[in-house]
């Protein structure tokens, strides 16, 4: 799943650690989400969306071929 987390974080000039603190997750988790190595759970995705005042669809985008994955 592609996401705009890195862009949104950069717009606010937050480090991965800062964003991690705001979301109550580790810096490693933020890095894994940003690099597409990990797709967050629905509660975490909602938390991210609320923090950036966007919808989940604004931040996360399903890539082609993922529908049946």
């Amino acid at each position: 799943m592609k996401n705009r987390l890195k862009v949104l974080r950069a717009e606010r000039d937050w480090s991965q650690a800062t964003l991690g603190d705001k979301l109550d997750v580790s810096r490693q988790t933020i890095n894994a989400i940003e690099t597409g190595r990990y797709d967050p759970s629905l509660p975490l995705a909602f938390k991210i969306a609320r923090l950036f005042e966007r919808t989940i669809e604004d931040i996360f985008e399903q890539q082609t071929g993922e529908e049946n994955a």
């Binding site: 109550d24 997750v25 580790s26 490693q28 890095n31 894994a32 989400i33 990990y38």
Partner: protein, 138 residues
Amino acid sequence: MTSKHAHRRYMKLFIPAMVLYVVSITGVALARAFNILPEPVLYAVSTIPAIFMIIWILGHMRYIYELDEFMQKLQVKAILLGLAGIMIIATIWGLMEVLASAPALPVFYVVPGFYFIYGLAYIIIAKRAGVKGWGAYL
């Protein structure tokens, strides 16, 4: 709670429990070697290391609960690989003992064997997940 805090809490419990585990095992082994204790007492004393093991296992469980979802996923994967590895080795060696007269290995080695495989698995899984250096543990 951050992973760092969870790790610190885990280490506060794990280190003393591990020290007491090693000390109690050494004590039991020495008591056996020097015939200090009668056989029935040795049976009873042999359960003491398990008390400290239970403490560190409960600490490990608490640690996993306190991690965030991604770090939990890495831990669970490593634990599954540790379990799979030790079960495969125990099955193969057990069958070799039963069917081919291989020397009997003490069941005691199952726990250190599990933690060895789990530790190795975690290092590899964390590296593949892009968690580098001490960040994997803190």
